[in-house]
C-alpha cells in the first residue's frame, strides 16, 4: 500500500472515531457543567462521612476529593491548594488526597471516552475506585504509624 493512501485511510478512520466520541462527549461535558453550576458536589459532601472515615480522612477532605474525582485533577488540586492555604487540612490529609486523586480522577469523562472505544465502563470505574481506596487507606495507616509528625 502506498504511504499516501495509508495516511488518508488513517486520518479518515481517526476523524470518524473522534466524531463518534463527540456524540457522547458533548452531552456529558454539558451535564458536568450543569452539576457544577448547581453545586451538586457541595450538596453531597455530607453523605461521604463513612467513606472518609474509612480512608482516615477528615470531613474537610470531601470537597477537594469529590471535585477531583468528578471534575478532574486540575480543578481538584486548585481546591486543594486553596484549602492548604486556609489551613483546613493537615499535611497528611493533603498528601492522602494527592495519592487518591493521582490514581482516580475525572472518572466520568475518562470512563465515557474509553467506553466509546469499547471498554466496559463499570469495570473501569470500579477497578480504579477500589484501587484508589485501598492504596489511600494503606498510605494513611503507614503515614500515621511511621511519620506521625505529619499529623
Amino acid at each position: 500500500m502506498e504511504i499516501a493512501t495509508l495516511l488518508i485511510t488513517t486520518i479518515t478512520e481517526t476523524l470518524l472515531s473522534i466524531a463518534q466520541l463527540a456524540l457522547l462527549l458533548v452531552p456529558i461535558l454539558i451535564a458536568i457543567e450543569i452539576a457544577r453550576h448547581y453545586q451538586v458536589i457541595e450538596k453531597i459532601t455530607g453523605k461521604t462521612k463513612g467513606a472518609l472515615r474509612f480512608l482516615l480522612l477528615p470531613q474537610e477532605a470531601a470537597l477537594p476529593l469529590l471535585a477531583g474525582i468528578f471534575f478532574g485533577i486540575v480543578f481538584g488540586s486548585a481546591l486543594i491548594i486553596d484549602y492548604a492555604k486556609e489551613g483546613f487540612l493537615k499535611k497528611r490529609d493533603l498528601l492522602l488526597i494527592g495519592i487518591f486523586l493521582s490514581i482516580s480522577h475525572s472518572v466520568v469523562e475518562d470512563t465515557f471516552i474509553f467506553a466509546v472505544f469499547g471498554a466496559n465502563p463499570l469495570v473501569l470505574i470500579t477497578t480504579r475506585t477500589i484501587l484508589a481506596i485501598i492504596i489511600t487507606r494503606l498510605a494513611a495507616s503507614l503515614i500515621d504509624r511511621f511519620a506521625p509528625e505529619a499529623n
Binding site: I18, L25, L29, E33, I73, I99, A119, T127, L131
Partner: protein, 147 residues
C-alpha cells in the same frame, strides 16, 4: 431555565475545546504510528514486549498505547487503540491501566502541590497500573473464563 444557559454554553465551549485538542493529538499520532507500522517499527517494539504484555492478556502492540499514554496523554493512546483489533476484555484492561497511569510529565507536577513528590507519584501510578492490569486480566480469565 435561564440559569441553565450559562453552564450549557460553558459545556459546549469545553467540548469544542476538547474535541479540537483530540483532533490535534490523535490525528498526528495515529499517522505517525501508521508510518512506523508501515516500516515495521511497531512490529519490532511489539515483538520485544510481547512476553511482558501477555501478562495482561494484551498483544505486543499495546505497548505503544501504554507508552504514549504514560509520556504524552491518554488521547494519544486512543489514536493507537482506534487502529488496533482488540477484544472487549483487552480494551477494558488496557483502559484501566491507561486510566490509572497517564500524562505523567504534567499530572505528577499538578499532584506535587499536595506534597506528593513527583517520582513517588509516577512510581505509584505505574505500579498501580501494572498491578491493576495483572489482576483484572486474571479475574477475566479465571472467573469469567475470558470474554
Amino acid at each position: 431555565m435561564k440559569t441553565l444557559v450559562e453552564p450549557i454554553k460553558k459545556g459546549l465551549q469545553k467540548s469544542l475545546h476538547l474535541l479540537w485538542l483530540l483532533i490535534k493529538i490523535i490525528v498526528p499520532v495515529s499517522c505517525l504510528v501508521a508510518i512506523l507500522d508501515y516500516y515495521g517499527f511497531v512490529e519490532l517494539i511489539a515483538g520485544f514486549f510481547t512476553p511482558a504484555m501477555a501478562l495482561f492478556g494484551l498483544p505486543g502492540e499495546a505497548t505503544i498505547a501504554l507508552l504514549l499514554s504514560f509520556f504524552v496523554n491518554f488521547y494519544a493512546a486512543l489514536g493507537v487503540i482506534a487502529t488496533m483489533n482488540l477484544s472487549s476484555q483487552q480494551i477494558t484492561v488496557l483502559a484501566v491501566m491507561i486510566g490509572i497511569c497517564h500524562e505523567l510529565p504534567v499530572e505528577t507536577v499538578i499532584c506535587s502541590y499536595t506534597g506528593l513528590r513527583i517520582p513517588v507519584s509516577a512510581a505509584l501510578r505505574l505500579f498501580t497500573a501494572l498491578l491493576a492490569g495483572l489482576i483484572l486480566n486474571l479475574i477475566y480469565n479465571l472467573i469469567l473464563g475470558g470474554v
